[in-house]
């Protein structure tokens, strides 16, 4: 695996970016700085994820603010798109082309010579596992194959920034696992991989950091545990402990100010604790275990995934809390 050298300032930067479609809000006052690795853009349908991605790639122009991708602007596509690949959500292709022709033709548009374009095309097609179908017309591909050929086209010129709008839609579980592994490999190679999804657990699995967006506003950003920590006061962290004497543990944790609730599991072998200070709780847990010889089967956060964080942030009615 080759590691990409950083281009420009090595970041994707949004400075107070707004986009309005006439009177309709696309995104509003977005300020972000995206570092290399996989960044998950999370939000329900219509929240502004695609608008944000299209703004990044220059398919849309911001009404206000400025966007810089590795120090480059979308005003100079001839420079920007040497470093950016974008697999959009549009399930559409130029008519009449085979998978191979689709990728090779646009590599030629990049300016690559015939032989080099051919080699790069095959490499990209192999990476997404479509070698056997490369000679067939894209129009005859399944939804999953179309997703993969779009991904191949986006990575074919070896970009430093990869933008992927709902890239896992239509993929079967096996293909999902393969594609996620590919994202990981690309990110480990130094790429910025910006992935959007409305399926929260999917993003949780693959992202190094997340941007939570709702109603056109960025409501949180960062690594998901960091975002969760910042919410401890308003939304105490839930920890599930499976052990042999949960009642003993419950009596000890109740003495602590930061513990809001402790509830025994119905089977009598588990304890659900809600605490405003997860670090102190874990220290206490260690002390109790050592002092009383508790046997711990497992300790797991019960609401620290992106799904829970998102629910806390937007509330049940989709409003920012």
């Amino acid at each position: 695996m080759t590691v990409k050298q950083p281009v420009g300032d090595g970041r994707i930067v949004f400075e107070n970016v707004s986009k309005f479609y006439g009177e309709v809000l696309g995104v509003n006052r977005v300020s972000l700085s995206v570092l290399p690795g996989i960044t998950g853009l999370v939000g329900p349908n219509g929240s502004g994820k695609t608008t944000l991605m299209n703004l990044t790639a220059g398919l849309l122009r911001p009404t206000r603010g400025r966007i810089s991708v590795l120090g480059m602007s979308a005003d100079r596509p001839e420079e920007l798109f040497r470093h950016v690949g974008y697999s959009t959500q549009y399930d559409a292709f130029p008519p009449g082309l085979t998978g191979y022709q689709f990728i090779e033709s646009f590599l030629r548009v990049h300016g690559f010579a015939a032989k080099e374009a051919e080699a790069m095309t095959w490499k990209a097609i192999e990476r997404v596992g479509l070698t056997e179908a490369a000679g067939r017309k894209v129009a005859g591909y399944s939804k999953g194959m179309r997703q993969r050929i779009k991904l191949a086209q986006a990575i074919s010129h070896q970009p430093s920034v990869l933008i992927l709008d709902e890239p896992l839609n239509g993929l079967d579980p096996m293909a999902r696992a393969e594609v996620i592994a590919l994202f990981r490999e690309l990110a480990d190679g130094g790429l910025h991989v910006l992935v959007s999804s409305h399926i929260l657990h999917e993003v949780d699995l693959i992202s190094d950091q997340v941007v939570l967006i709702n109603g056109g506003y960025v409501i949180a950003e960062g690594d998901i545990s960091g975002v969760r920590d910042e919410m401890e006061e308003e939304h105490p962290v839930q920890v599930l402990i499976r052990c042999d004497r949960p009642s003993l543990l419950a009596s000890r944790v109740f003495e602590q100010d930061h513990v809001v609730e402790a509830r025994l599991d119905d089977d009598g072998k588990g304890l659900l604790v809600r605490t405003r200070d997860a670090d102190s709780f874990h220290l206490l847990l260690n002390e109790v275990v050592l002092a009383n010889g508790l046997t711990i089967e497992g300790v797991a956060p019960a609401d620290s995934d992106v799904n829970a964080v998102y629910q806390y942030l937007i509330g049940s009615n989709g409003e920012k809390s």
Partner: protein, 284 residues
């Protein structure tokens, strides 16, 4: 990226001409591959004047005097100027150039070009050249075919004399030049319509009307129609009837550069428009 770097190396002028040429050729290749695979509608349109001339061959006594070459010359001039130029080539240019960008927006595939490291102006030029090649090849061939069909019912010796010792080949060359300039001019107009109007059909219809009443326009307004310049280059003038407003035909030195400059201005406007164009298919 070795090849691309060498191609992108700036020439002495400081501009990457080699890269631009490679990208232009790639756009041409891709456009021809995806946009004109089965142009049956265009082929039928191109065959329409030929159909009229074949009918003339088939109808008994449609030709009064087979030794009278002037009759064929006048007949072809009428078919070419009244039908081929004003209707067939005009409609073909609406269909081809008006859809170069529009069709990709409706197909939701324009973004693939916009996500390529290419100046968008080059895309406009590449698409325009593709349209020009397709329309000129098709309607140039149709013009040549129709021209020879017009003379087919006439005596071969008279036809040979007209072609090789008379003005025949010069006429054919002039008609080909007019066909080319019609594709250049109308092509640029409808390319621009594709950028400036959501549905280019209505302005195209209005423009068709304008070109159609050209013979009624006062001399000053005639200068703002494409047909005024194209018609002046046709080797045989067409009688436009008793109500036509007469005016001096522009010389070829005005007509040819006039059409080319107008096309260049419209292409430049389209190129300016595409630089700030957004892709939001949802609004279509």
């Amino acid at each position: 990226m070795s090849d691309i770097v060498s191609a992108a190396a700036p020439a002495r002028s400081g501009l990457p001409w080699a890269l631009w040429k490679a990208q232009l050729l790639a756009v041409l290749r891709l456009e021809l591959r995806k946009g004109f695979r089965r142009p049956w509608g265009l082929v039928l349109l191109a065959l329409a004047p030929i159909f009229i001339l074949v009918l003339r061959l088939l109808i008994p006594r449609a030709v009064d005097d087979p030794s009278d070459i002037a009759e064929a010359t006048t007949f072809f001039a009428g078919v070419y100027q009244a039908f081929s130029l004003r209707i067939v080539i005009f409609l073909a240019c609406v269909a081809v150039f008006g859809n170069l960008i529009r069709r990709e927006v409706l197909d939701r595939s324009l973004h693939y070009y916009f996500l390529s490291p290419m100046r968008r102006e080059l895309l406009v030029v590449g698409k325009y050249l593709t349209g020009l090649i397709v329309t000129f090849v098709l309607f140039g061939l149709a013009t040549v075919g129709a021209f020879f069909l017009a003379y087919l019912p006439h005596e071969s010796t008279a036809v040979q004399r007209f072609l090789f010792q008379g003005p025949g080949l010069g006429h054919l060359g002039a008609y080909l030049l007019v066909t080319f300039l019609a594709c250049v001019g109308y092509g640029a107009v409808f390319l621009a319509f594709g950028f400036f109007f959501k549905s280019p059909a209505l302005p195209a219809l209005a423009f068709f009307g304008w070109e159609g009443i050209h013979f009624l326009l006062p001399p000053l307004l005639k200068k703002f129609s494409v047909i005024h310049y194209l018609q002046s280059l046709c080797p045989v003038p067409l009688d436009e009837g008793p109500i036509a407003m007469l005016s001096d035909a522009p010389s070829p030195w005005v007509a040819i550069p006039g059409v080319i400059v107008m096309a260049a201005v419209l292409i430049a406007l389209s190129a300016w428009k595409i630089r700030t164009m957004e892709v939001s298919y949802e609004e279509e």
